[in-house]
Every structure is written in structure tokens, then in C-alpha cells.
Symmetry: C2
Subunit: 79 residues, 2 copies
């Protein structure tokens, strides 16, 4: 079974740059990659927070959150 990598973002310029470059490096043979736009799917904000995501863009690998640069805080996505 493949490992899971989830990239949470909000469509901001920092997010898009990270998506284009970081996500492209991932080995798709070993990792199942999912991109989640929290601006469009706010219902998944809680899920991202459960992994410790505090800002986007963030990459969650096997339930471990890694924040990449800084685009927007999760709190700012709640409206």
C-alpha cells in the first residue's frame, strides 16, 4: 500500500509555488498524493487541524504536518 501525502493549500501565490515545486518532487510510485484546497473545501479544515496544520501551504505525510513557507494561517480561512 502506498504512503499518504496530503498537500493542504488555499490557492494563494505561496501555496501555488509550493504545490508546483514540492509536490512535483514526490515519488508517486510510493506516495498517494492528494491536494486539498481549504478555501474551496472548508469542511476539511478540522481534519487538517487534527494533524497539527496551523498555516498553509502544509504537507502532511503519514499524519505528520510540515509547514512550507507561509501563505495564510488556518484561522484566517475560517469564515
Amino acid at each position: 500500500m502506498k504512503n499518504k501525502a496530503t498537500f493542504y493549500h488555499a490557492g494563494c501565490p505561496v501555496c501555488i509555488e509550493a504545490e508546483n515545486m514540492i509536490v512535483d518532487t514526490i515519488d508517486r510510485e510510493r506516495y498517494e498524493v492528494e491536494m486539498v484546497h481549504l478555501g474551496l473545501v472548508p469542511a476539511r479544515i478540522k481534519e487538517s487541524e487534527s494533524f497539527g496544520v496551523k498555516s498553509v501551504p502544509a504537507l502532511v505525510i503519514d499524519s505528520q504536518a510540515f509547514h512550507i513557507n507561509f501563505g495564510a494561517s488556518i484561522d484566517d480561512l475560517k469564515s
Copy 2:
């Protein structure tokens, strides 16, 4: 020719966690990965700064810097 991905770190706990998980996701068929411990090789601090690295751990992909979480500032590695 493979693309280049350089992971700059300083051996701190945040760095090691990022190294273990982020670097492992990279597709080695397409990316040549180099790990640089700036605490042990301070001569390469200037090079990292030339890519815009401000803190470690950071991953530089094709000359573009991505800061991953926060372990230590580059300034704190200069001594």
C-alpha cells in the same frame, strides 16, 4: 539530467524529522538529492543564503528555497 534538490539543515530535532520524512518522499529517479549540514559545513552558509534560505530546515529545488517548519535561523548558525 536530473533536477537538483538540496536539503540544508543543522542537525536539530526539527531538521531531522523533516529530513526523515520530506526527503524520503522525493523521487530519486528524477531528483538528485544532497543533504548539507550547515553546522558541520559552515562554508556553505553563504551558498544557502544565495538561494534565499533564512532558516533551517530548508529544501532548495532548482534554486528556489522552501522553508520547512522552523528549526534554527541561518544567523544563529554563524559563529
